[in-house]
Symmetry: C2
Subunit: 436 residues, 2 copies
């Protein structure tokens, strides 16, 4: 048994100063005040952590890991030229599935997971191509992931991409001791017809798979749906997608009638504040969604748009944006934001034993050092974690009970090899020279 002592343990809304967290194998067996902890056994590994906070691993409910290779190639441009002039040409050069694409996706995903794990992320929800390699990268990093092959229906007359999605499920669902889950990924309502979405829905139902979709990503999208007599939530309902658990990314452009329907369908929302702000797409109605009991996680989107996979920046952006946009500083208080970045992200992904420090939950546990100079004084641990702490304050990351990161060192993977591989891949696919 691993026993973390001396730290403030958060479970999740209650803080236990000088608390105790015990992990046995892959599971948490205790989290709370020292007084209630199980008796220590002689062969326990005891780690004393005064001045630290022990929190659940962060859940990133929407990302495109492999796009790490394109970080910073095209900032400060509008969405359409960003896609057409910058991102798509690079994706062309990444190659084909079964060919060079596999190697590039592996290199980019591994690089992305270095950043994510060091920032305390222990679960991701990824949509891209060549997803076998993403599964591999997640598996070897030691964390968990929901993976999905993005499906643009408009360019899939022969249903090849849908077949790739099914096959991915068959190969990887439950792999790495259950750490990999596979969803089907119709890209968005504006790239898949209702008929196509219906076919995906049927396939997902047959497999028992989750759905991961971009939904209401722009105001234009919601307006276009309205012109067809639809709302974003009705796309899910009418196509049959909502028979499965749906993870909807972005949702910045709601239809008024959607809230009750999203609640009823138990949809999970992946709020991506940095990406939405930086691309100027709008503000997700986070407070209203949460009033309906809809779980709202904090996602990064890909590094090509958001630049970072850092949940500490995501939490700050979510809190600042909600308060600033509503002109109500009481919106999304620190406790709520931390809960969104962990537990609600897990609920949004339908991972029902993840995101809490509680007995029986997966031992995905992060230790944050609150003793750094730039955090002082710390009067409120939630405030320090959300408004002041940074990814560099993460000291230890346990995933499924295994220590995978400690004080700057990646213990499950070879950082230097990953960096070297990624640098070559990034220069090749972008045809640009690195600057550092």
């Amino acid at each position: 048994m691993i026993r973390l002592t001396g730290a403030t343990v958060l479970t999740p809304d209650v803080e236990h100063p000088q608390g105790v967290l015990c992990m046995d194998g892959k599971r948490i067996v205790y989290a709370g005040p020292a007084a209630g902890a199980p008796p220590a056994a002689p062969d326990d590994e005891v780690v004393d952590l005064p001045g630290r906070a022990v929190i659940p691993g962060f859940v990133n409910p929407h990302t495109h890991l492999a796009m790490q290779l394109m970080r910073g190639i095209a900032d400060d441009v509008a969405l359409q030229p960003w896609l057409q002039e910058h991102i798509w040409p690079v994706e062309e050069r990444m190659g084909e599935e079964g060919g060079a694409l596999e190697q590039h996706v592996l290199a980019g995903s591994r690089l992305a997971l270095l950043e994510a794990v060091a920032a305390g992320v222990t679960a991701v929800n990824d949509m891209y191509m060549a997803m076998d390699r993403v599964a591999e990268a997640i598996g070897e990093a030691g964390i968990r992931g929901v993976i999905t092959r993005g499906i643009v229906g408009h360019t899939d007359p022969e249903r090849r991409k849908l077949r790739l999605g099914r096959e991915l499920y068959e190969r990887w669902q439950g792999a790495y001791g259950g750490r990999i889950q596979v969803a089907l990924g119709p890209h968005a309502p504006y790239t898949c017809s209702m008929d196509y979405l219906g076919e995906v829905a049927q396939a997902a139902h047959d497999l028992g798979a989750r759905i991961h979709i971009h939904l209401a990503e722009t105001h234009q999208e919601t307006a276009d749906l309205a012109a067809q007599g639809l709302t974003p939530a009705h796309v899910l309902l009418d196509s049959g997608l909502s028979r499965q658990h749906v993870i909807a990314a972005h949702y910045v452009a709601p239809a008024e009638s959607d809230f009750a329907l999203l609640e009823h369908m138990h949809v999970g929302i992946a709020h991506c504040p940095i990406s939405n702000l930086k691309l100027g797409c709008g503000f997700a109605p986070v407070a209203r969604l949460r009033e309906h009991g809809i779980p709202v996680g904090i996602g990064s989107d890909g590094a090509a748009s958001a630049n970072v996979l850092d949940p500490f920046l995501g939490m700050k952006a979510a809190a600042w944006m909600a308060k600033g946009n509503s002109q109500d500083p009481t919106q999304l208080p620190a406790r709520t934001v931390l809960r969104m970045a962990t537990y609600e992200g897990a609920l949004a992904l339908d991972l029902n034993d993840v995101g809490l420090l509680a007995p029986g939950y997966q031992a995905d546990v992060v230790v944050v050092d609150l003793r750094a100079t730039h955090l002082q004084p710390v009067f409120d641990v939630f405030s320090a974690l959300v408004y002041t702490a940074t990814a560099r304050d993460v000291e230890r990351v346990y995933a499924s009970g295994k220590l995978i990161y400690q004080e700057g060192r990646h213990l499950a993977v070879d950082r230097e090899a990953i960096l070297a591989e990624a640098r070559g891949a990034a220069e090749r696919v972008t045809q640009q020279a690195l600057r550092s």
Copy 2:
């Protein structure tokens, strides 16, 4: 002469890969491509910095350093209860000028400067009380600062605070070899009558002092002025304040007629994006101000409201907020944001040899390590600095040509002593127990 080689040198909009920066005494003597650098002399101190960026020190044009002691005591509350129930009671307990207040302000300011310097800040504009101690803290930290005694006119019938402001000027203007500049600080239009502002204007004119004022901090303030037939800019003009250089903090609630007037009066704006977002006060019209040629720096405000003094977070917040609010991702591109955080901040403070890497400018120089894993790949140095880098990537800070921070170590001050002193002061004035 100190010679930095091998890094990307930014001067300021042009990048020189493998560039050279030379400092001699307190001044920069060269910044640019290696080919044009002055010949190396045998006693030069050469520092080779491949993979780093060399940038001007950050300028924080609006802060309240001593409020660092109150970080995190009251987040997520509305402005009025925040002030009345949380901040003012603590300020009461901080004591009187000439008494305990002096010690508390010194402790808080020193603590704040640990955070600021480690993040690459080499100039601040501070408004608070017991300002002799702030001058002392800035002086010993080795950086530069404009300091001002905040003056609430409504509680100053005998002009005691105005006298303190004048005396501060007489004692400190030009101290520490010119590193300290003293402004007069009428707090805000809503706390000073026009007559009182007129008296401050006359005093500032007599001294030749700058003015530092909160202006258009809320929409309510601008509405209240409109009811009196005034606009924020007209307060400056009609009171006579604008005869001096004015630094106006916040400016989130413009009057349409103000832009041309602010331009004409050469007012500098201290934009405080994190504070404005977190308190839900509104969005400063940064793009429009800059279209008028008005310099807009990026300020932190105090840690009691904004939690951090970190210019890397300030730059992200400024960029995200401008794009998100305008729904225009081309607003405030990375180069502009870096320029605001350095050069425009200096212009806003009327520090005319600060904020650029150029011959004759003050040698306030920051080295940022772009080799960290979380930054890779780096294709664009400006993008990496603004959207991805963090304060922890700051490797070296030179102020007036002197190395004051290197790889986590503060070279000008005793960090442990400052932390110990600040912890005691923070607990005493807040009457709360520290959590780490």
